[in-house]
């Protein structure tokens, strides 16, 4: 690349600074707010200089909120627990169902395989409410309303296409010759799958699992429609939190910080795989 003039260099630097400020400032600001009391939050002009307090986090973690009207119970920690359980369980189920299917699609061009794979992919692009609204009635008949089982089942709509398409790509990248060689040595397909294909695709499977976890964690509409308060994840819980009385703004901020920390940490950890995952394997990172 050719050398840049000092003016161009300065303009690029300025543009990048603006970009970083725009995208980072909200995270920074909410993080600061989570350590503030209502008095410092409401101060005008706003200031970044204040005595930090952990009282917001303490209130969330103990679930007891001291207000002028008395002590309030808040269920934020149970929302957080729901998020963890729903996401982990959904990804686990998705991996068990999706990895063998991905292997089948990658290794065997059987009749209808492309059609089936595309049907599964099309779930990624259908309006979720189209399925969710009728599902509320089916769930009532089946007794699945507001159960973890029902929610995890529906969460497969998010996780399964993701796992299937990403992992299929990783299996396709493995040369089939290695597997043939192992099979010719007299091993069953299952041993080949377990001893050769799975370890080789391992990093890809792990990355797909992490991404599916992030997507399950960030989901909002599924639980909004299908879960009541006791089963709701943080995305729905935090929203209900805003309208409840006696809540301090700093506590909302602290709830947001606690809710986004897991996905941000995982994203930083798995960032190498994000490009491939987000484009369902269409773009190599």
């Amino acid at each position: 690349m050719e050398t840049m003039s000092p003016l161009e260099r300065a303009l690029r630097g300025l543009a990048l600074t603006l970009v970083v400020v725009f995208f980072m400032f909200p995270i920074f600001w909410i993080f600061l707010m989570s350590f503030q009391t209502n008095e410092t939050i409401l101060a005008i002009p706003p200031s970044v200089i204040f005595t930090p307090t952990l009282s917001n986090y303490a209130a969330l973690i103990t679930g007891k909120l001291q207000t002028a009207a008395g002590t309030l119970d808040i269920a934020f920690m149970s929302n957080l627990g729901n998020s963890i359980f729903l996401s982990v369980a959904s990804v686990a189920v998705s991996l068990v169902l999706g990895v063998p299917a991905a292997y089948a699609f990658a290794r065997h061009k059987f009749r209808g395989s492309e059609d089936i794979a595309f049907t599964l992919l099309s779930f990624r692009f259908a309006p979720p409410l189209l399925v969710l609204l009728p599902l509320t009635q089916y769930f009532q008949w089946l007794g699945l309303s507001n159960t973890y089982f029902g929610l995890i089942w529906v969460y497969q709509l998010i996780c399964l296409p993701l796992i299937l398409w990403i992992v299929r790509g990783y299996f396709e990248d493995i040369s089939a010759d290695v597997e043939y060689a192992y099979r010719i040595a007299g091993h069953s397909w299952f041993a080949t799958f377990r001893k050769i294909a799975l370890p080789l695709a391992g990093p890809g499977i792990a990355a797909a699992g992490l991404l599916a976890f992030i997507f399950a964690w960030n989901n909002f509409v599924f639980a909004l429609v299908l879960a009541s308060a006791d089963k709701q994840p943080v995305t729905v819980g935090a929203l209900a939190f805003v309208t409840s009385s006696g809540i301090q703004y700093g506590q909302i901020a602290a709830a947001i910080v606690l809710s986004v920390t897991p996905t941000l940490a995982l994203a930083l950890y798995a960032q190498r795989y994000l490009v491939e995952g987000l484009s369902l394997g269409a773009v190599k990172g």
Binding site: M1, V19, F22, F23, P26, I27, W29, L42, I44, V96, L97, G98, P100, A101, Y103, F110, I116, L121, S122, F125, A126, P127, L129, L130, V131, L133, L135, W153, Q156, L160, D173, G186, S188, I214, N218, F220, V221, V225, V234, T235, A238, L239, V242, Y249, A253, I256, S259, V260, L264, L266, A267, L274, V275, L278, S279, L280, G281, A282, V283, K284
Partner: protein, 307 residues
């Protein structure tokens, strides 16, 4: 080795024939999804019925009436208009911004790589929570953005609670969340382009605007198309940000397809209309996703080939 192998195999000697194996492997995944296909057909049936949860006794087929009513229903045209406007504005701005940022970060360096990783963070925040963050920042009594607006003379700038600026506010949140998506896809695309054409152009002293419009942009087109269609499909269905921010309000300013369908179902309990709305949205996304899948498949083949 061989002996452990025979141990692992089921003792009954039950073996899946080679032909059946792929079906057996993909069957569980399919069964789980078929359970979810049934509600889809139910939604089609609902959309041809007069069906209100508040008047279950009057439920009957009215065939195309829900759809025909849309033609004379200003609320429907408003939904269509707001949805297309929202999708159009967000995707256009995100594309321009994402392309700009990707170009700024194209050269591999420690600083650029660090920035590109940092910029992923908004994308990894749940859109509903991102909306909540911006809600706190635009709160009239303490929001930092309300304060900044007052500094430039916009006293009482009401962001999402005013019908004049609600669309602008949710678009801003959408841009904040999803621009990084376009940015990383285009950045990966830019960095995977072959270097020869650029070296040749530099040797010949070709002007940089020419290089950009005649070499970079055409070679980047498949990536741009994929990113755009991906975003378009999501954006026309946007629910989380809008619902979390304003619940479709104020009034009906932001009643996009999925928000309107949700409100129809749960508030006015008009199941028939809600289902018909979603079927129309599905028809739009289905058409778009067919275009999308063709283009995406080509790109995927290419990514595989280069890997």
């Amino acid at each position: 080795m061989a002996s452990t192998e025979t141990l692992r195999r089921p003792a009954s000697g039950f073996r899946i024939s080679r032909k059946m194996l792929p079906y057996v492997l993909s069957l569980p995944a399919l069964l789980v999804c078929i359970g979810i296909l049934i509600p889809f057909f139910t939604a089609v049936v609902y959309s041809f019925q007069r069906y209100r949860l508040s008047q279950p006794w009057s439920r009957q087929f009215n065939w195309g009436e829900n759809y025909l009513n849309f033609f004379t229903d200003p609320a429907f045209w408003n939904t269509l208009k707001v949805s297309l406007l929202y999708a159009g504005i967000t995707v256009t701005l995100e594309l321009l911004l994402g392309l700009g940022i990707a170009l700024l970060l194209q050269r591999r360096s420690a600083v650029n790589n660090f920035i590109s990783i940092m910029l992923l963070l908004p994308l990894m925040i749940a859109p509903a929570l991102a909306a909540l963050m911006w809600k706190l920042m635009t709160n009239p009594s303490f929001g930092i953005l309300s304060y900044l607006a007052s500094l430039i003379g916009l006293n009482d700038f009401r962001w999402a609670s005013s019908p004049d600026t609600a669309l602008l506010t949710v678009v801003l949140v959408d841009i904040w969340v999803y621009t990084p998506f376009i940015m990383i896809l285009l950045l990966a695309g830019l960095r995977s382009l072959p270097t020869q054409p650029f070296e040749a152009a530099a040797l010949d002293g070709v002007p940089r605007s020419f290089v950009f419009f005649r070499i970079t942009l055409p070679m980047l087109t498949p990536y741009i198309l994929t990113a755009t269609l991906f975003r378009l499909l999501d954006s026309i269905q946007q629910f989380d940000i809008i619902y979390a921010m304003t619940q479709g309000g104020p009034g009906n300013t932001l009643t996009v397809f999925q928000v309107e369908a949700y409100l129809n179902f749960f508030q006015s309990t008009n199941v028939g209309r809600s289902a018909a709305l979603l079927i129309i949205l599905w028809a739009i996304t289905y058409t778009l996703s067919n275009v999308f899948i063709k283009n995406w498949l080509r790109l995927r083949e290419r990514a595989r080939g280069e890997a």
